[in-house]
């Protein structure tokens, strides 16, 4: 796998907020058709890292390449133009708008006179929602009237509609029931088969081991360990998350002893 060009390559990424080093020299690679689980404590810098990849935050330092090409994202629009779609933990839905308006939010279909083409957007929304949730019919309700799972499908539909190459999922199953979690798992497998690269942030180790091919662990904004899921186990990963302790018993750079953890 590693002789392929990575879909995403992030090198030596830094991001400070005031005096706090949220991300401190992190590296990350994502290959086509794989799911990379990004793990770490609350405050380990996972969300900040992916926000730089999705264009929501500008990076302070470091390089990002998409399919071998250096890129520079100023806004989320730039990242979307490069084929990166993000499903945020909060879902980032405008609660007062209906499903089609949310799916196309920021990328509305316009008629040739420049007005919103509501009919076309509703049509497309129906088609894409069919793939996710065939029973869904509430296309005219504001999304605040939808259930947790339905809202999640709307957020996912937004990524499918625009043919993403790279999908970032922040806690995709946190708000879901068992049936809906199953649905998301199926979806992730389908997307993988289409050659899409997925970065998944999750606290649920069970989900991560189920769905990911590789995992990457962060602590205190730094890289701890990256490797195949098959080469490790939940206990080792937990040790890395909590203590920054590598499988061979040594500590990750920047963490010299248990006291630092």
């Amino acid at each position: 796998m590693s002789n392929q060009t990575p879909l995403v390559e992030m090198k030596n990424i830094h991001k400070n907020f005031g005096g706090i080093r949220a991300v401190d020299g992190m590296d990350l690679q994502l290959y086509p058709g794989e799911v990379l689980g990004l793990l770490g404590h609350n405050g380990a810098g996972k969300s900040t890292l992916i926000k730089m990849l999705s264009g929501a935050y500008p990076k302070d330092e470091g390089e990002i390449s998409i399919a071998g090409e250096r890129v520079h994202f100023e806004t989320p629009r730039d990242a979307k133009a490069a084929g990166i779609e993000t499903i945020y933990q909060t879902l980032a839905l405008a609660d007062n708008l209906p499903t089609p308006a949310n799916i196309f939010f920021g990328r509305e279909i316009l008629t040739k006179f420049g007005a919103l083409d509501e009919a076309a957007m509703e049509h497309a929304a129906i088609n894409v929602m069919k793939r996710l949730n065939p029973a869904f019919v509430k296309f005219h309700d504001p999304v605040s009237n939808l259930s947790g799972g339905q809202r999640q499908s709307v957020a996912i539909a937004r990524t499918l509609q625009f043919n993403a190459r790279i999908i970032i999922m922040d806690e995709p199953t946190a708000a879901l029931g068992p049936h809906e979690t199953q649905m998301v798992a199926e979806l992730i497998k389908n997307l993988k088969n289409e050659g899409i690269g997925i970065i998944m942030i999750s606290h649920d180790l069970h989900d991560v081991f189920d769905l990911s091919d590789r995992v990457s662990v962060m602590k205190n904004g730094r890289h701890v360990w990256t490797g195949n899921v098959a080469d490790t186990n939940k206990d080792e990963v937990l040790q890395m998350i909590i203590l920054g302790k590598l499988p061979d018993g040594s500590y990750a750079p920047g963490i010299t002893s248990e006291a630092d953890a």
Binding site: A94, N96, A101, F105, G106, E108, L116, A119, A120, E122
Partner: protein
């Protein structure tokens, strides 16, 4: 028991509204408006619904309604504009200054040049307030409270406090003139044809994609109702004659201006990207930013729009008075905000319609006009208006809870 009955009643409203595919909230507001009208009709021995009074009522409403359409977008995007009254005074004085001091009085071009100056100044000054709000993250309440104090003071500087008068005679038509009987009918017919075309276009675009459309009978019924309402409006306006003549006045120019602006604003709010961003931002600012919506752009633009509407309001007000006094537009900001809020705009953002604000403005002005007719003193008038405002918001909160 009473609760059961009220539940039944609200169910009924919901059934009627879903059958007609109308917003139940809007329907209940129209109901409230009709009740107010009927009450004042009897309380004033029929004077309230006379063509003369309705004509005046429509003129009195025009400025508040006009600016309220812009205030809806401001409030929906989680801002507020307290400066409209003072900005209106400033722009009005500026327009008067251009007409009387800068250009030759009664010159051929002075009236329209002054209007263009006012419109541009309205857009720039409104936009500047929006820029300060978005760029420096100062709450709009504070920035426009500053505007409230600043602009009236700035107006004073133009003329050292003198009232600018008289104004250009062509210009005065914009405030108190009307378009006559024939033109009123022509405008009514054109409006109906445009509405029909819009309905047909909407049906076609839905049918093209194989969506279910509203039943044809219902659509024709609705259009017939609209035709009736337009005809009623035009004939009422035409029934108010010029003094000592048989000739009807027709639709007042300020009302015509207001209606045209309101249509443009409805288009902006519901059918453009900008309108969609305003509502989406109001619903969830973070989601809007993640979707790549620029807060700065939409804030500057929404404040520039209300600035232009304020300039049009300044034009109407000063033209109507044939003067630009410093006191013009006092407390207008509160009337405008009240109209929007009575019309269902939520101060929490994300919710509100232009049509609602228009009805809210008519409702408030009807109350004021009706109370004057039946001889209520101005102090109790204000107290009653305050009660209505709070009742309207309470009703909204109650209704939102019920519909969940």
């Amino acid at each position: 028991m009473a609760q059961k009955e009220s539940a039944k009643f609200s169910d009924k409203v919901r059934n009627i509204s879903s059958a007609l595919e109308l917003d139940p909230r809007l329907l209940s507001m129209i109901g409230a408006l009709l009740m107010i009208w009927i009450f004042f009709y009897y309380a004033s021995d029929g004077i309230f619904l006379s063509p003369r009074n309705l004509w005046n009522l429509s003129v009195q409403t025009s400025v508040t309604a006009l600016i309220a359409t812009g205030m809806v977008l401001i409030i929906v995007s989680r801002n507020i504009d307290l400066s409209v009254g003072s900005l209106l005074a400033f722009l009005g004085i500026m327009g008067g200054f251009v007409q009387t001091e800068l250009l030759t009085f009664e010159g051929t071009h002075s009236w329209w040049i002054s209007i263009i100056v006012m419109l541009i100044a309205g857009a720039v000054l409104g936009g500047a307030q929006g820029f300060i709000v978005a760029k420096f993250a100062i709450p709009a309440f504070v920035v426009t409270l500053g505007g409230l104090m600043f602009w009236r003071g700035a107006g004073w500087l133009f003329t050292q406090g003198r009232t600018v008068t008289p104004l250009d005679s062509t210009y005065s038509v914009l405030g108190g003139g009307s378009i006559g009987e024939t033109w009123s009918w022509i405008v009514g017919i054109v409006a109906f044809l445009m509405l029909s075309m819009f309905v047909i276009w909407k049906r076609r675009s839905r049918a093209r994609l194989g969506f279910p459309t509203k039943s044809l009978g219902l659509e024709i019924l609705m259009l017939a109702v609209w035709a009736g309402l337009i005809a009623l409006f035009v004939s009422t306006m035409n029934a108010y004659n010029f003094p000592r003549s048989e000739e009807g006045r027709g639709i007042p120019v300020p009302v015509l201006i207001m209606i045209i602006c309101a249509c443009v604003m409805m288009y902006v709010a519901t059918m453009t990207r900008f309108g969609r961003y305003i509502y989406g931002y109001g619903g969830n600012p973070e989601a809007a930013e993640l979707a790549g919506v620029s807060t700065l752009k939409i804030t500057v633009m929404s404040f520039a729009i209300i600035g232009v509407l304020t300039a049009i309001g300044a034009m109407i007000s000063t033209a109507r008075l044939n003067a630009a006094p410093l006191t013009i537009g006092q407390l207008l900001e509160l009337q405008v905000i009240a109209a929007a809020v009575i019309g269902g705009t939520s101060l929490a953002g994300g919710v509100g319609t232009i049509v609602g604000a228009l009805i809210g403005a008519v409702l408030m002005q009807s109350l004021q006009n009706g109370m004057v007719l039946i001889g209520v003193q101005s102090a109790p008038q204000q107290m009653i208006m305050a009660g209505v405002l709070i009742f309207a918001v309470w009703f909204d909160v109650y209704y939102q809870k019920k519909s969940r």
